[in-house]
């Protein structure tokens, strides 16, 4: 039977895991400069994420065999987040539509088709504070089954698509009056569920770790006081 010596053991697991994590931190910072949103689009970064996923799955398996449940939970959660991220990067669909709340605008600026369903803008309102600062942007859309409202932080979910209130534009009308257009983002992301399950697993593992540390350290804390 082949045994790992202590230094080899340390080199293989702890140091490698740490270097990998620190390397990814450095990579994240490298991509922190504005204008680079290509993290999941290059073969290098895809390769790094696949490697990381492999390491996480291996570590989860090893932790399960060794009955280290907390470690398994952590690495499984991180793996789920990466799987969700991969699905989002590969399969998420999104687009923006600009709809104008004006009778002067041609029909294509007041409605659009989504998967055979005609969706039109009913109204767009900018609610303001007393000092004129925007308080909320509200778009009301007409669907075949009625009018639905969308505002910032309150998206509309419908038939797998999510409608987000993103921003607005102003233009001058033929008589100098302002014409407002709402900008909506439409998104269908099958990776969200995996990623959020991963978040839940990671947070649960982190809370259990903190509880374990508190229970484990209490007796020694009391001894040091005595």
């Amino acid at each position: 039977m082949r045994y790992l010596t202590p230094w080899r053991s340390r080199l293989c697991f702890r140091t490698c895991a740490t270097l990998l994590l620190l390397g990814l931190s450095a990579l994240a910072i490298l991509f922190a400069f504005p204008g680079t949103h290509t993290f999941l689009k290059t073969p290098l970064t895809n390769g790094i994420l696949l490697l990381l996923l492999g390491v996480l799955l291996f570590t989860t398996g090893r932790a399960l065999i060794n009955r280290r449940w907390l470690s398994a939970l952590f690495h499984c959660g991180a793996g789920l987040v990466i799987i969700g991220g991969g699905i989002t990067a590969g399969y998420a669909k999104d687009g923006q539509v600009l709809l104008t709340d004006s009778t002067y605008a041609p029909p294509e600026y007041r409605q659009f088709l989504l998967e055979g369903e005609r969706i039109a803008l009913h109204s767009f309102d900018i609610l303001t504070y007393d000092n004129g600062m925007p308080k909320q942007y509200v778009s009301r859309l007409v669907f075949p089954d009625g009018v639905h409202e969308i505002s910032v932080n309150a998206p509309l979910r419908r038939k797998g698509w999510t409608f987000y209130q993103m921003s607005y534009q102003t233009q001058e009308g033929p008589y100098g009056e302002p014409i407002f257009s709402t900008v909506l983002t439409l998104r269908k992301d099958p990776g969200v569920g995996f990623t959020f399950c991963g978040y839940g697993t990671l947070v649960l593992a982190a809370i259990l770790l903190a509880i374990r540390e508190t229970c484990r350290l209490r007796p020694s804390a009391k001894e040091s006081i005595a």
């Binding site: 702890r14 895991a17 740490t18 994240a28 998206p155 978040y199 009391k222």
Partner: protein
Amino acid sequence: MTLKTDCLGWLLNAEVLLSALTLWLPKPKRLWVWLTLLPLSATTIILRWTAVQHPPMRNLFEAFMWLPLLLVCMTLVSALRDKHDTSRLDAALGVIIAFPLAFVFSAAEGQLPPVLQSPLFVPHVLGYMIAYVLLARSFILECFHQPDASRENAAWGFAFISLALALGSIWGNEAWGAYWQWDPKEQWSLATWLIYAAYFHLQHKRRWRVTLLGVGVLFILLTVTWINLSKLFSGMHSYAGA
């Protein structure tokens, strides 16, 4: 750097003074002086909350107001539960926090923009503030050879930073249409989380513990100050420096 001379400003100046005083006082007195910050910092938060009519967490000034209160609460937990007086170490952190709060950050009032009007606003910001205080304490405790207390603070700090990061991502999915956008602040927060994940892999040697906890605190400082305030890193979180 300006001296704030309104009621809130004088309370913040008093926080700096009392934190500095705690550093120099002997043991029995310093804990009581430090504990006076509990009602003082609670009053500053209530005053600000009343003035701006929303939870005071909109920018750095408002978010930093929570830190002295959280620090004193943690000192109180250590004192009551462990009979362990950490007031001097916490007061050192208190001076570092209260000084920019009183003299550097702008106290200009503002309304919440639409993107901040979410039920996740308070748990996300408060989660980060609790995590930052715990992780800064963890570093200081490790530097002063209290490894058990340091480890416990780091573990709870890691739990809160994980929770706040996840809540931020869920909030981003509700407000911006994507749970991760490689926004500069998101990336630096992820990098900070990874540093603490590395700490839990390499905590058997003190050299590694001190290094990683120190790098973690450095990353936190960079994230909350430079990334928030620098024009170089404009992104989805740009309102945070306003």
